[in-house]
Symmetry: C2
Subunit: 151 residues, 2 copies
């Protein structure tokens, strides 16, 4: 499988996680972490149910991946996440020294890149725009639905 | 109790937490969150034992305080932390909309203020330098000890 196909494949897995968030009426963002071709962590945004601002998909995925590997550094891992990580998640990804980040749609308001790429570890590679429309659409639909409900 | 005395009082509580981290051979950083004069969360850095880069004192304190209050926003709360928060923790404090942050010693290398105060919520107030020397010393001693051990 070439890299583009691989990225699409794993982003579909991240989208599956986002859909799980949607089913629970959470802002639908999903993430998976892949190491040596294996998905070692899956997570979705769960901030509302847990009443916890730190429960972003990426944060939970980092904790879960480190637990799976038995070490806190994720240099050999790739994070796939449907939406661009925020500053908090970028800070966590820095500490984890994640090897690569692949995100679907950008987040011009709260995405880390608004502050600057220097928030990440210098060795972290970044790709973006993978299944961008699908990743963005699920979020747009969610917020439109909320507006219709008057929330 | 005037504000300066109050800040010193709660920073001593945060220092107690830092000492608990030290006893467990963790980088000694401690935090408490105070709401209406009550300490509603206590935490210390626990990244090594948990193998989890997200287990900073502040992150655990945010989760614990929100759990205590039954809501994820901490606008009426003050975080006391012995060392300046990093980018990840500043990002989390932004989402929590914390009312006030009081930190002991600055962290010129990894502190959020190196990036900029705009990482925090615009309504968050900041004070620093409370028991600065004590907060800094416990960390310096820890790293000097590690160097002597050749770690």
């Amino acid at each position: 499988m070439d890299l583009a196909k691989q990225d699409e494949h794993y982003m579909r897995e991240a989208l599956k996680e986002a859909r799980k968030a949607l089913e629970k009426d959470e802002v639908p963002i999903g993430a998976v972490i892949v190491c040596d071709g294996l998905v070692i962590a899956r997570a979705y945004n769960y901030t509302e149910h847990l009443n916890d601002v730190t429960a972003h998909a990426e944060m939970q995925a980092i904790t879960s991946a480190a637990n799976n590997l038995g070490g806190k550094y994720l240099q050999e891992c790739t994070l796939y996440v449907t939406i661009e990580p925020c500053v908090m998640c970028a800070g966590a990804l820095f500490w984890a020294q994640i090897g690569r980040i692949v995100y679907g749609a950008g987040d011009p308001k709260r995405g880390f890149s608004k502050i600057g790429l220097h928030l990440l570890h210098p060795r972290t590679k970044i790709s973006k725009g993978i299944l961008e429309e699908e990743c963005s659409q699920i979020l747009t639909n969610f917020f439109e639905g909320k507006r219709r409900e008057g929330k």
